[in-house]
């Protein structure tokens, strides 16, 4: 019986449990690294050092930050809606981590005689799953802003809703080209289609799709230059205005998990996943290759943040609907024709 979707390969339940724990652990090791990297790299871009006081090279700064946030008083505005206010950061966190289960770090490998797929799950509807959780993720921001009971939070939530919906369309359409070239929604299939001789990574034939996916990814993760839901200058902090302490830490960490997830998705879909060009490394190298590609894209996120100023709201909307959506549609159309003709 198929409950939700066909699954490429399923292990016994205890391996799946172990895999879930490992993926969770790896992601939560990456979050402080990305947190620190963001501040250090941003500092370098601005002729500064960034944090370098806590621990060697400031390595313990994220720990100190998170520790500080967790020890703060849980504060809730009087006219907020209690359970939604508490639920919103949890939704943000959950959806961010859930997509990470999709990222394939390698194909199925033998570990001590047991066949294990180095991914959380490989459903045949992989990309749809990612977008489904992306769709739920915006409830996190939306409910967070709405349940706060403040006008800035509400405005931020409205903006994030509009922005996420606008860019999800373009992001989805940008992937249609990749899906058509592969003929599958499964992420491992997509990576395999980019491996071997004669096949190139999809960012070359699907360059337009790659750029649109990446830029829409910036918008989806509310990163500069698309950080309008937060927009410190006009909306205080947008949907997180009323949050503090642990709940703010959850939103904060979810933002960075989202960056990692979008980077890993881009690496998987367009940069050939665990493949290395002209080389055929042993399978234990594969997860490292994926991580390196992910971190390179994370660097790109930070680099773009250091470079571009925030868009005005109407510019954001016209970029999404007037430039990216037609471009993504055209890309899908051209790809469809070429796939049929060739």
């Amino acid at each position: 019986m198929t409950l939700f979707a066909e699954v490429g390969y399923a292990e016994p339940w205890w391996i799946q449990l172990l895999k879930a724990l490992v993926i969770f652990a790896v992601i939560f090791q990456l979050v402080p690294i990305v947190l620190l990297a963001e501040r250090k790299v941003l500092g370098r871009f601005q002729h500064r050092y960034g944090p370098n006081r806590v621990g060697p090279y400031g390595a313990l700064q994220p720990m100190a930050d998170i520790g500080k946030l967790l020890f703060k008083q849980q504060f809730r505005p009087k006219n907020s809606i209690g359970w939604l206010f508490a639920l919103a950061p949890a939704i943000s966190m959950l959806t961010a981590v859930a997509v990470m289960a999709l990222i394939p770090f390698s194909d199925t490998v033998d570990i001590f005689g047991t066949k294990v797929g180095l991914y959380g799950i490989d459903p045949s509807i992989g990309i749809l799953y990612a977008f489904a959780f992306g769709g739920i993720a915006f409830y996190g921001l939306m409910l967070g802003g709405w349940a706060s009971g403040g006008k800035y939070a509400f405005l931020g939530a409205m903006r994030s809703a509009a922005q996420l919906i606008s860019y999800e369309v373009a992001q989805g359409l940008a992937l249609v080209g990749v899906v058509m070239m592969t003929g599958s929604l499964s992420l491992t299939r997509i990576v395999e289609a980019q491996s071997g001789s004669g096949n190139v990574w999809y960012f070359i034939p699907q360059f337009v799709g790659f750029v649109i996916f990446l830029v829409a990814g910036f918008a989806e993760t509310n990163r500069p230059p698309f950080d309008l839901p937060e927009a410190d200058a006009e909306l205080v902090q947008g949907y997180v205005t009323e949050y503090g302490g642990g709940r703010f830490a959850a939103f904060y960490a979810a933002e960075y998990v989202n960056i990692i997830v979008v980077s890993a998705l881009t690496a998987t879909l367009f940069l050939g996943g665990w493949n290395v060009p002209f080389l055929d490394p042993p399978s234990w190298v594969d997860p490292i290759v994926v991580l390196v590609k992910t971190l390179v894209l994370v660097f790109l996120f930070i680099w773009v943040r250091a470079t571009l100023p925030r868009l005005r709201y109407d510019q954001l909307m016209s970029l999404g609907w007037k430039v990216f959506l037609p471009l993504a549609t055209l890309n899908a159309l051209v790809t469809a024709i070429l796939v049929v003709v060739l």
Binding site: R44, H47, W303, T307, L308
Partner: protein
Amino acid sequence: MVYDPGSDVIEVVRAPEPGAARSTYRAFGETLRGLKTTLARWAEGPHTYEYPEHKTPVYPRFRGRHKLHRFEDSGLEKCVGCSLCAAACPADCIRVVAAENTPDNRVSAGERYAAVYEINMSRCIFCGYCEVACPFDAITMGHDYELSDYNRSNLIFTKEMLLAEPLERAPLRKAGE
């Protein structure tokens, strides 16, 4: 009747501007140029002085913590307690109480000396008027600027503190630096 604003109101045409493809291409190019610019800043490296370890040298005329002086040969205080510095002080942070020198208790070179000389550093604005007002060059501005303290009362500097050789913690800028 239809409202007619007249010629004062300029009509703004809201329509897609021509050359969208070219401007999109240009925006893309400009974005890449911006990314190149920021990466060049990265390559330059930080321009930061890491303050507590590395102090910016101060100029010789820098106005920092005050110093009171003695005559080098006789060891007598230069201050004669005239209170001109206190009168010149716009922040009113100097307090001088003068006393008469006696033959067996000679403190300063003049007729009188400052029995009490206090500067309230929490009020001082480091304008240097006291230095200008002093007829005997008894008070000058030093180079030390690290004056913070945990207690406000510790910031009232007494005559003994001002006369003592101060810690020169701030490096002096050399010629051409």
